[in-house]
Each structure stands twice: as C-alpha cells, then as structure tokens.
Amino acid sequence: MRRKIYIALTAGVFVMLAVLGVFVFNVSYIRLFESGRDLGTSIAYYFVKLFDLPYDITPTVTKYSGIIPDSPKIPSTPTEAGISARAYFDVFFSSDNFRSWGIDTAHFLSTAALIILPCILLIILLIRFMYGRCNTKHNRDTLPLRAFKAVSRTVYQPTHNAVGGYVHFLQRHRWITRLWLIVAALNLNLITIIIEFFAYYFYFAVSIDLSSVFVQIRKLFIDLTPFWKVFNVWGIIIVALWLFNRWRRNTALHTLRHYEARNCGFINELPIVTITCGSMGKKKTTLITDMTLSQEKMFRQRALEILQQSDVKIPYFPWIMFEKELQRCMEYRTVYNLATVKRWVRLKRDRFLSHGDVHLQLYGYDADKYGYDYDNGLYVSELFDVLENYASAYFIYVITSSLIVSNYAIRTSNVMADSGNLPLWLTDFFMPRDVNNSRHSHILDFDVLRLGRKVVENNPNIGSFEFGVVTISEIGKERGNNLELREVKRNNDETNQKNDLFNSWLKMCRHSATVDNYPFIKVFTDEQRPESWGADARDLCDIIRIVESSEQNIALPLYTLQDMFSEWLFNRFIATYTDFRYRRGDNTLFIYLYKKFVAWVWNRNVRNYNRYGYSVLSIEKERGTMDGKADKKKYYLMNGKIYSKRFSTDCFSDYFNDLASRTSVGLDDYLEYQTERASVRELQAQNSYFINSLYGR
C-alpha cells in the first residue's frame, strides 16, 4: 500500500514538473531548440574553418535569443557597463552615502534592540518565574508537554515517518531524483546554458572573436531569467550553504589524507623494530596502534605494487589464470603460508621442466615467442623466479584477515572489493564503513617469536610466523631488562627471557618476510621507559619519545564560528538545565524543546570533531643505543582513523576487573580520617613500609 502511495507521489511530482514546464517555463523549451541550433551551426562552423572548406554558415551563437526578451537593466555594451560600474563605485565611495547608510543601519539596529532585548528579558523572567518553584514529581510531564507530545504523536511523527519512508524509497531508486533534476534543469533553462557554453566554445576555438565575449555574458544573464523566477535570495543562500558544506567536507578529507600520507612517510623511515616511550596517558598505545594500521595498509599497497611490477616484467603472461589457481590452492589449504607458496611454484617449475606442458603449467603462455627470462639490467631472472615473487605478493595481498599480530585487540576496517578478477582493497580510513565487516588482529602467541625454548613445547604454532605487523604493548613487562633478569639463568629448566632466543628472532625476522627484496614485517612496541627493555633488543630499535600532544584541531575550514556557537549554546543550556534538575523532578515543555535543539547542535559538533578532528603529537626519534641526537618530528592522530573503536585504551582492564570482582570492598568502604591530623591508629592502617618502620614492625 505504502509503495503505491510513493509511486503515486512520484508520478504527481513528475506531472507537476511537466505542468510547470508547459505553463510557466515553456520559454525554456523553445530556448532549448535555439541553443541546439546554435550548437549545430557552431560545430559546422568549427569544422569548415578547421579544414578550410568553402562555407555559407553564419554561427548563430553570437546573436541574442528571439524568445526571452532582452532586459534593459543589463548594460548592452562594455562601455555602458563601465559607465554603470563607475556610477556605482562613485556612490559606493561617497561620504554622503556612507553617512546615510550609517544612520539607517544604526536606526535599524537600535529598533531591533528595542524589540529584541525586552523580549529576551521577558522570556528569562517568565522562565525563572515558572521554573523557580521546586518539586519532586519524578519524570512526570507537565500539561503543556503532554499536549505537545500528543500533537507530535498525531501530526509530527506520522509526517516524519512518511517523509523518511519516501526519502528511503528515493534513495533506493536514485533514477527518480536524477530524472527530476534533469526536468527541473530543463525548466530553469540550465541545460540551455550548458549547450550554449559548448556552442560558444566551438565558435571561439576557430574565430578567437573577443568582441563576442560580452554578448555571451549578457546572454547568460538573460538565460538565467527563468532561474531567478524560482530562486530568490533565500534559495541561493540554501544552495550556497549546501555547496559550502560540501566544499568544506571535501577539503577536510583532503587534509586528513595528506596527514595520513605524511604519517606513512614517517613510518617508512623507521627501522623494522621501534619502541615508543612516554609516561602514562601520553598516547603511546594510541600511537603504535595508529602506526600499525598505516603499516598494514602499506603492506597491502606494496604487495599490489609487486604484482603490478611483476606483471610488466612478463607482460604477456596470463596472470589471471595463475592467480585463480593459487586461490584454489589456498582454499584447499595446499598453500597456507609463504613457504608453501614457494613450494607450490617450485613444484610447478619441476613439472614444467619434466613435461614441458605450457597449457597445464603456464596456462598457454607462448614462452617460445615471449621468452622465459626477465633482464633487469643487473641480472637475468627466470620466469619461475618472477612467478614465485608474484605468488608470494599475491598471497600477502589477498589474505582477507588482518596482517596484524598483537598482544591486544586492534580492529581493522579494510574491505576487499572483489568482482571475480583482481581484488582491490579499500583502505581509506576516512570513509564510513560498516563495523560489522571489520576484522580484528590475530592473537600474538609469543612462542611463534621464540627461536629457542618455548613455553608450550609442542605448540602447533611454532615456526608459523613469517610476515605481518607485530604490535606489543608494554614490552618491558614481557621481556624485562638486564637488571630485572639478573637472577634469571640461561640454563634454567623453565623457559625464560634468556633462553627463548626472542632477541635472535628480532634480529633475523626480516629473512622469512622478504618478498622481492622488500621485508613485509614491522615490530611496534611501547613502554614507559626505554630502559625497561633489555639493551640487546633495544639497541636494534629506534626510540620514539612522545613529548606532547596538541589540543584537538579540526580539518574543516572556517569552522570556528560553528564551534563557538555550539560551545556557547551547550554551556548556556547546562547552566540552566543543572539548576532545573536541582529544583525540579518533572519534565517541562521548554526544557524538552531546548534540550532537543541543544542536543542536535552539540551532536553535530561532536560528529564533526570525530570525523574531521585531529591532534598533533610532537615526538623525538633517536637511536636505540641512545647516544645520538634526537630528531624532532610530528605525527598526526586523526580521530576518524584511530578513535573509531580501533582498540581499547584499557586493554588489560579485565585483569583488574577480575581482581575487584573477587573482593567485597569498594571505595566507599575504606576508612576515613576523622580529623585533619591522622591518629596513630589511622597511620598504622596504611600498612606502609615507612610507618611500620617507625613503629619497629
């Protein structure tokens, strides 16, 4: 039933537009034929002039319309326009005009103030009078609010739902709005203006007739006559605001992507292992999570680059067939890591060498014609070497799960677009994505990073880790430093930091991860002090120290006034609302409407800051040996990327929750001091080493 109403409504709008076109904007359609004639003669003129052919064509684009009457308000010659402009600016810069404008403006402002100020005062007094009395009628609506809600329920809500449903219908059938826009553009003579532009373009390209430019400008103003019938000043303000908002959002996204590119440049400068340091709350884990997300994206991009370069190395190879066979092998689990990828390509090579079947092993690639080798100027690679690189890069590229392995959960929102050929990754952090399509980082089993003894001796994951982004928060607490490990012995029976050869893995990890000479591995760690991690491992790193984090900025240009209004309104509301909450327990109409409006403004501001806000971290990068000079750098933390449920800042909170849930005591149960000076009994209740030593305990 509802669908039928929507269809009828759509047809009604079309009929209305058609009726308007026939009775109000019929001139636009006749003018459209004129513009078609102008375009035809201009194109003909263009070609005869271009090929220097004999012709008897008069371009009509330089003539005025015979349909829309000329406006006497528009100057007919450049000289007349100059005289009008001079007359305008003579008055504009005249002191008498300025003085009379000042008097009129002052009069207008004082009149407005005389009306508005008493009204505001009256409203404030009225509100104070009405809401000054206290009550405890919890959650009871006042009579005006009940009446408003009843009207809203019967009038506003059904209308809102109907409009919302229809908008949804239009979103599902976008062709309707497109067709409306085309008909509206025809009615308003805008299509004619576009056709006239091309007609003049063809004419001007071969005539270079500068004297005709003024005529075109006049024609443009005359052609806009139907447009001005509909769009008055308010219409233009609404369209201008919409365009301004659109421009602002696009500029902000461009800025954020630029900052992301700068972050990627910074990450690329880093060695394979880094440790990020800073005191608590300095955004250490935020920074390594942000770098991890960027690095994962860069690994996908780098894998794609290797695919593209390999493709060009052997340009006539049927890569799509190779990819599809590899994908099948991945589905059947014949291939599940880089080692098995290489084994698969070697097997293919051996089979080809023994049988020479190009159809089965090389998918019909005419190797005799196109060659078996690739010469890069330094050395010659075999076809199967290139295939091995391609297969390894493709394996890394098409893995649908995250490339991140971490000791805390990180959400990734990259989406693979696959139409059955070469899949493409959508890795832009600033486009809205469905959270349900997210993947999370893999659980880091530290045994996979140990080359020596393992915590679980028969761990099935041993030796499986080859490539990816390894992210370890609080590395010092896991690995310890030389001082903390003084009592730990290498030849202990149990696995410990000295006999697990984790540091050896760190030093050699790039060997398993290298494809086409590029290491697909990065290790990001954090700790409060770099010294908390043993020097043997730390010396491999670059140390990133977070000096300070800037306040929140927003990439939306010209946002100051909106931000200011939102803040001012919220603060005004909170002052009134807190007082109201203290005095009264019921719900009133004024507070209901006021809160609704403030919530809308405030939420809009919050969303803008969440999407387009960023802060700048001032960081210092130094060598892990800590004997060099620190480089000052900047890193951009963009809210839309890092604060969209990427990780939990209290990632180890469940440990403390577990501890707290086992006790029967809360903060409210702790003993309080009875006076400003602690008694002996109160001091002893501290269980302090110092106090206990004073009392000889």
Binding site: V91, T105, E551, L561
Partner: protein, 32 residues
C-alpha cells in the same frame, strides 16, 4: 590562540555582514 582565532572570526563576520549591507544599500540608492 583559540581565543584569538575566535575574535578574528567574529570580527571578520561582522565586517563581511556590514560590507554586504553597504553594497546592497548603495545598489538601492542607485536604483532609487
């Protein structure tokens, strides 16, 4: 910095509003 930015924004807004008002007023005077 934030305060300065806000003062500049409000000043520019008022100046632009007055300029537009003056332009329209001048146009009105000429047409009259």
């Amino acid at each position: 910095m934030k305060l300065l930015k806000r003062i500049i924004a409000v000043t520019v807004l008022i100046a632009v509003a007055l300029l537009i008002s003056y332009c329209i007023y001048t146009g009105g005077q000429i047409n009259a």
